[in-house]
């Protein structure tokens, strides 16, 4: 637990990192030279063995993992601390936001949430022409991608159809940048098919935006609302998440004798340890870090009581297949109805326990269950409850197999459907698929269209051309490319099988 000078030297001299990237890695080394928040030996061992994973949040959580400021407070009141008057024009509002983002902490040292941009900007748009609006957003997008180049950075639009949301979709499809990541909140009542169609046409062009099922999310939160950030985490607005600890279900399955032993003994046991680790990290953040003395709390951008703890899980596919194997049962997760049903049962049991277990400092005194999208070093554990890469069924079967999980994961569950680029010639198909998925209970709809340079990795976007450059050691301006390149090499992520292809070209059907 002391500083490793070799590592420090490597960071400082790494030709593929720019100075601010180096500064960030150095700060992580320093933080992690401190002892880990105190927890009991069993939880510590589960963490060391990789049954639990804290997603390298660091040893001394001095900021919440995800912060979702309510920027409307700033736009209404200005800021004493930042010496900002309340903005009156669109330019002033955008300028205030750009300043505010710089002061929004998160786990990546860049904001993960920059607000419900259409809602924030709409009041300032009176008298602004469409062309002016588009030009301003184009410049704002350029600023975000160049100054805050992090694919975890997220903005939300919708659910109401409005001219800012449309202008944002127009610019986003035109620029095809990694940042900002974009979610359309979709409500069949208020969004309307035109805006949804614009969004699905954008997906065909650049695999963005991601579409969230607004009525389902709204019901899981309260009047102050929610935001979608990072890898499709749904979190309380004006708050966020203090920590995200995740449980590797494959490792839990390895440590059980079969289905019943898993459900009765192993799963409750490791969930218990996960709660202890969550408590330890939340305790450090809330009681010792001093974070909540920050001006963004005092000025009301965020509320100390609105931070949840995310109870993440992953490796469901491998867990189900292993448990069924141990019981001598055939059938693959994602394809076999009984195997899928075991998965739903596991999700349901975890949801019940998370709803019943108090967590100190957390919003409403509870953690929120989350199907975690995975990180680059995951081996033998598929993100969340997804079907393993390269073996997914057709997109409709895929959606139907996973939809029953969705109601158990209020803080988010991400699937990525991979579509062959033939869908570009028939965007109506993508539209109908998205609508069908949302109507079937999907909390979020996300698709990668093959042939796009911009691709979602586990939950964030990368450019394939950047990965290529990074592999060739040219370095990348974008912080997440390193993660993407690692993920591509370790987990075969780019092998996600495109599912749709002209039959005239196929070797056999459906290939």
């Amino acid at each position: 637990m002391s500083l490793d000078l070799d590592t420090i030297r490597k960071i400082v001299t790494d030709p593929t990192l720019n100075p601010s990237q180096k500064a960030r890695f150095l700060s992580l080394e320093a933080e992690n030279a401190l002892p880990y928040p105190e927890t009991d030996p069993e939880a510590a061992q589960a963490l060391a063995e990789g049954v639990l994973c804290d997603l390298v949040e660091g040893h001394a959580p001095y900021k919440p993992r995800y912060v979702l400021p309510d920027f409307s407070v700033l736009l209404a009141n200005g800021s004493d601390y930042l010496e900002l008057e309340p903005p009156k024009t669109l330019d002033e509002a955008i300028n205030c936001l750009m300043i505010a983002w710089h002061h929004t902490p998160s786990v990546t040292a860049m904001p993960v949430f920059i607000g419900h941009l259409d809602r924030l900007l709409l009041p300032f748009c009176e008298g602004v022409t469409h062309d002016d609006l588009v030009n301003k957003i184009r410049l704002l997008w350029r600023y975000i991608d160049r100054v805050l180049p992090d694919a975890f950075l997220h903005t939300n639009i919708g659910p109401e159809d409005n001219r800012v949301a449309r202008a944002i979709l127009q610019v986003d499809a035109e620029l095809k940048q990694i940042a900002p990541n974009l979610t359309l909140l979709y409500d069949p009542e208020s969004t309307g098919e035109t805006l949804l169609r614009m969004a699905t046409d954008n997906i065909a062009a650049c695999s963005k935006p991601h579409i969230a099922n607004h009525p389902l999310h709204a019901a899981a939160f309260d009047a102050r609302g929610y935001g979608i950030v990072s890898c499709y985490n749904a979190l309380p607005a004006a708050g966020g998440a203090g920590t995200l600890v995740r449980l590797n279900l494959h490792e839990v399955a390895r440590r059980s004798e079969g289905v019943e032993d898993f459900l009765q003994r192993a799963l409750p046991h490791y969930m218990e340890l996960q709660f202890r680790l969550i408590e330890a990290r939340m305790g450090w953040l809330f009681e010792r870090s001093g974070f909540f003395e920050n001006f963004i709390v005092e000025e009301g951008w965020i509320d100390r009581d609105r931070f949840t703890a995310m109870f993440g899980i992953y490796g469901m596919a491998e867990a189900v297949n292993m448990l069924r194997g141990k019981n001598g049962l055939p059938g693959q997760y994602g394809f076999d109805a009984e195997a899928n049903a075991l998965g739903y049962r596991i999700s349901e049991q975890m949801a019940a326990k998370v709803e019943a277990t108090p967590v100190k400092h957390a919003w409403r005194g509870r953690a929120l269950l989350h199907s975690q999208a995975g990180i680059s070093s995951d081996l033998e554990a598929t993100p969340g409850v997804r079907i393993p890469y390269g073996s997914e069924p057709d997109p409709v079967t895929h959606v139907k197999a996973l939809a029953p999980h969705h109601r158990f994961y209020p803080s988010g569950i991400s699937e990525i459907l991979t579509l062959d680029e033939t869908v570009k010639a028939n965007p109506q198909a993508l539209f109908t698929l998205a609508k069908g998925a949302l109507a079937s209970g999907f909390r979020e709809f996300t698709a990668n269209v093959a042939g796009n340079d911009l691709v979602r990795v586990t939950g964030y976007m990368i450019r394939l051309s950047d990965v290529e450059k990074y592999r060739n050691k040219e370095g990348s301006r974008i912080n997440t490319t390193g993660l993407g390149a690692e993920a591509a090499e370790l987990t075969g992520i780019l092998e996600r099988k495109p599912r749709v292809i002209g039959h005239e070209y196929a070797q056999g059907y459906g290939q």
Partner: protein, 288 residues
Amino acid sequence: MNMPRATVSKILPFSCVDGPGNRLVLFLQGCNFACVTCHNPHTMALCTHCGDCVPACPTGALTLRDGRVVFDPATCTDCDDCLRACPINANPMVREMSLQEVLAVLRENLAFLDGLTVSGGEATTQLKFLVALFSAIRSAPDLAHLSCLVDSNGHLGPNGWARLLPGADGVMLDIKALDPETHRRLTGQDNARVLASARLLQAAGKLEEIRYLVIPGVTDTEPEIAALGAFLDELGAAPRLRLNAFQAHGVRPPAAGWPTATRAEIDSVASRLSQLGVTHIETPTVYL
């Protein structure tokens, strides 16, 4: 009542290349052509239950019971290894389905669908079933909004079309070649009935599109392209023409040795056709 049943080789609940929007594709077994360029030869022959494919299945979805191959769809992962193992190009996954079963599959996937496309094999070889299916869809309030398209090689005669068309929204017709001799060489059949079908469908307003497979040196010759242009001109208000690029991968000999059509070759065919006045030409999104 003697309800027709379908012999189904595959059902895909997602396809964006078989008509507008997302379509459920019902592949029916059996074909009356024997195209040398067929990429789905396993839809042609009928299974003899020899059992050769059983050990090729990695998931145990195929078993031999009382001299018959039994297929368990629940365990199948769609790897198609069994198709590659079959020595006669049959398919052990074919199943007999009743009209009610097919309607049930449509209903299960309804939230995701713009329509249904029947394909093959040659779908119209199971005409009786198609007529019953389309009329059932038309008269079911929850299904009536689905569009019904037929993928066809055009061998069906006028009486057959007269029965099928009232329920069908449109037909996507393959024209393999304009020269009768070339057509016979490619398909084993004459093309007179195909061209007659094109005229009939056009007159009925049901010709959704014509599909033309570009095989370098075979169907992209000057006389072929000129004949295609002239034929489309004769049809008047010509429907969409979709050019498909031949690719040898997965095709049986002798066509397996033929060169794949490149983007440049397709573009050249498209530009020659537009010079001949053909207006609505679609080229592939993907080249393999």
